[in-house]
Symmetry: C2
Subunit: 148 residues, 2 copies
């Protein structure tokens, strides 16, 4: 019977991992319906697409490391993107374990389209906050995400 002082105030809705999850799901919902409806993509797939669109030619492993996605998920996303002709796969000659991925013309078009959607969507989401608030939010989220 001593320290229930701050105990009482700890609600589920204040638990950071819970809150982050709710915010992530709510904010991702609308974007999901776009990439899903427009290109039939799954989350991992647009992420792979974006990585190639932004950083250029890259292996599956690099993508997995940057985005913290398990290699089996990346592998399956790559297979689906390749089957739909959004990316090409090319074995590295010197070390045939590596496979370099690249966007096709169709892949680049899809990327540009979704990139623009994402940009506008992000702008809309952050428009409810001041620039300082938004900047702080992003930096805090990066810190929270970074601790892996």
């Amino acid at each position: 019977m001593m320290r229930d002082t701050c105990d009482e105030t700890f609600e589920l809705a204040d638990f950071l991992p819970y809150l982050l999850n709710q915010a992530a799901e709510a904010s991702g919902q609308e974007f999901q319906t776009i990439y899903k409806g427009r290109y039939g993509m799954l989350r991992t797939e647009w992420r792979v697409l974006f990585h190639l669109g932004i950083y250029g030619r890259m292996t599956a492993k690099e993508i997995g490391e940057r985005a913290v996605i398990h290699k089996t998920k990346v592998s399956r996303a790559v297979q689906k993107l390749a089957a739909r002709r959004f990316i090409t796969r090319e074995r590295h000659a010197a070390d045939r374990r590596f496979e370099y991925l690249d966007l096709t013309t169709a892949g680049r078009a899809a990327y540009r389209d979704l990139h623009e959607v994402a940009r506008q969507y992000d702008a809309r989401l952050t428009s409810q906050f001041s620039d300082e608030e938004t900047a702080l939010l992003r930096s805090m989220l990066k810190r929270l995400a970074g601790g892996r």
Copy 2:
């Protein structure tokens, strides 16, 4: 060829839904290993447990609405929690469609344990920020989560 001024600066790592997801996954990881390892629970299960622990007797539907979880997910979580004797289920006499859920003694013990873990974990996560920053973060996340 006109407005690529702010286009170039829009990176994947700045896209809010992406960032939120990364932060949510990273921050939830450690807590997951606890409720999973200690009680063999899934995410929906501890959420149901917490809702009952915090708000008391409640139906599956109410939980689903508060936490924005699909009813099939809640239904299965309730089944598992009831099978493990963490909760009891009782049909409402006046309207037999409703089923009221309650924590058992074991359920309340598990809730208290996990609640304390969550409290400490939250405190540790937010200790890297100032109180003002943390408060702002939570309020922004709530706004982002609220728009459903």
